[in-house]
Symmetry: C2
Subunit: 244 residues, 2 copies
Amino acid sequence: MTDILSADELHQRLLEVGARRYHDKHPFHVRLHGGGCTKGEVQAWALNRFYYQSRIPEKDATIISRMHDPELRRSWRQRLVDHDGGPGEAGGIERWLHLTKALGLPRELVEAHRGVLPATRFAVDAYVHFVRERSLLEAIASSLTELFSPRIIQDRIEGMLAHYDFVDADSLAYFTARPPQARRDVEMALGYVTAHARTPNEQQAVIAALEFKCDVLWSMLDALYHAYVEPAHPPPGAFVAGPS
Amino acid sequence: MTDILSADELHQRLLEVGARRYHDKHPFHVRLHGGGCTKGEVQAWALNRFYYQSRIPEKDATIISRMHDPELRRSWRQRLVDHDGGPGEAGGIERWLHLTKALGLPRELVEAHRGVLPATRFAVDAYVHFVRERSLLEAIASSLTELFSPRIIQDRIEGMLAHYDFVDADSLAYFTARPPQARRDVEMALGYVTAHARTPNEQQAVIAALEFKCDVLWSMLDALYHAYVEPAHPPPGAFVAGPS
């Protein structure tokens, strides 16, 4: 029998999940941020990550569709704006396409998700299914990897600018925009989770939801590592970098 | 514009998918059947593959739930019998647990899917979601990897018996039972697909469904290879073999 946790204890437990399982510890990210990636590896990372980016608004719309409270829906709706943009205003998806363009990937290839690793699709789709099938509390809790994202984004911007001559500040505009959005998002989601996880079972479900989301991100990097770093064995039909 | 294929041409195209993408070509299987795996690797393979086995009847029940024709449902129902067994009669799931027991894995661990790779869950769950969300034609077509399974099973039985002293014929009973079931299954599914894919689009969807299913099986082996062979970097929370 698990005891009920105070709000501070629950917060602490969530931070511990990140300390153990967030993908900043993955060897692929160490390599990416440390300058060890080839251009082809960076291309493969950006191409696969775009599949994730492109599904995030579907994930968020699914969450909104399950909320009965207009204020809650309004608050979560900001995430759609952040990713899809507004009239004459680029959102996160467009900014990611700016990055893939700077990396030399044709926009049609990226938008059609051609060559994306099946494991990327399976992991990302698992996230979309999770927020559809689990409780709203778990769906919201699974977004809490944003607790850890401002830090990794800072490392990424600094590392990529320092190490790759095919990357500049303009091409990294997606990342520059994200940290304030993530801080605002996580404040809201953490407030919701703290207020609504009122039994030990609900609190454990919240922690498990964050672990699940860490597994999604981690397995995307495992797949990249296997396909492009070691043993560099891309599955049939996957992206293969051209001569650089 | 793609032309309509004859039944023979469609069959030929499906065989070509297998020749390019079926997981008998994956380095993990080459290693498994050739005697190159450690006992821990064989354990990890059997543990992860059990997650697949355990979801197959859910996949098949989903397909049955979408069929309007009693005769079709009766025919597909045999798959539930094959895997779940009958009164006093073991099915495929029980036979797989017989294998994991012979490999020294505690039954509770296997049945609870403890330590299963997240990528295994994501791939297998993608298969279950596929048969729920796509057309019945595509759902049935995705089962056609059984076109290729009798051959790989034959290789597996011979290879594992020849190379591993921790495996005997009794522990491989799952595989001995499968080929006649698979041949019967595939005859029915191939007949259905041939009769119901009547436009070029439907035929292409059938081919794509088989590619999808090959991707599911392939990505499961990619994840095993990454976690346990090279760089042998299991994700947080995954199975780690004990001293053997």
